[in-house]
Amino acid sequence: MSSLADKYLRGHKMPHIWCPGCGNGIITHAVLRAIDQLQWERDDIVIVSGIGCSSRAPGYLDFNTLHTTHGRALAFATGVKHGNPRLKVIVLTGDGDCAAIGGNHLIHACRRNIDITAIVYNNSIYGMTSGQFSPLTPTGSLATTAPYGNIDRAFDLCDLATAAGASFVARSTTYHANHLRDMIVHGLQNEGFSLIEAMTHCPTYFGRRNRIGGPVEMLKMQQEQAIPVQRAASMTQEQLEGKYLIGELHNQQMPEFCALYEQVIQKAGGGNQR
């Protein structure tokens, strides 16, 4: 018997370059377990990433993969999906890649409700370039570009995606690795744009600078801060201070972009050409 790693990883590229204890591998593993659970054909899957630590992931994955330019993973993925709607398109992106330079692509992918599943590796920092704050760095946190504490407010990426029109939005953490896999499975099954925010940890550039500790302490922090959405319903605003919700946060079926575009093709009389 072999492991999922033997089945889905490009073994000759391993071990990966991520730091000891980095959560990126936990999320990537959850993605593989979700794909394996759905028993999708490998050749039908396209995995697209931008730039950053997390965007290194597709390089290790033995699928059709695209490692694209900074912030543009969703733009490339839109092209792939639009060109061949039969393909199952997954985007792996980071908090900086997706919410800063790629923020505009994100809101419009949501608005179109194109059938892509985006998994955002949110480690609260730009890890690859040594720890600058991102739009998802919590207020007050230390970063190389915020040595006295970050004064910006962070986006709630899930609220942002919901408001922009995504049909499925969920959040989980690397501590809750099985729950994360389940959220990814639901996202992959959704016919429309799905965003799964995976809360992860950067022990090297966030944990150390903010004196949280190493990977073990950072996972324990996720365990304390993450509140299942069902449980939050019976908690007060005061009790929820400093916490974040995990689980399925938004699920509303809407017409999907490629299906609508197919109707345009039919109307224009070009149906036979596809």
Binding site: M1, S3, P20, G25, T174, A177, P203, P215
Partner: protein, 71 residues
């Protein structure tokens, strides 16, 4: 209840493991302990084969492998 559940053993890929300690810290049965290099050593007697170590390993370095009864 399956009367003959498959036997499983924990495998550690030494060359992929970066000794982060996550599997050891979060094992619910303390079935893993650190060797001198910080990598996990498996105690087969207390392990319940829950697989949490595999799911939280950032390095794909630890996994459960089914073994047939004869092997």
């Amino acid at each position: 209840m399956d009367n003959n559940p498959p036997l499983k053993r924990v495998i550690v890929r030494e060359q992929w493991c970066k000794a982060c300690g996550i599997c050891i810290a979060f094992c619910p049965r303390q079935a893993l302990s650190a060797d001198t290099s910080g990598k996990p050593t498996w105690n087969t007697d207390v392990c319940v084969r829950c697989g949490l170590c595999e799911q939280r390993c950032p390095d794909f370095a630890i996994y459960l492998e089914e073994v047939n009864a004869l092997g």
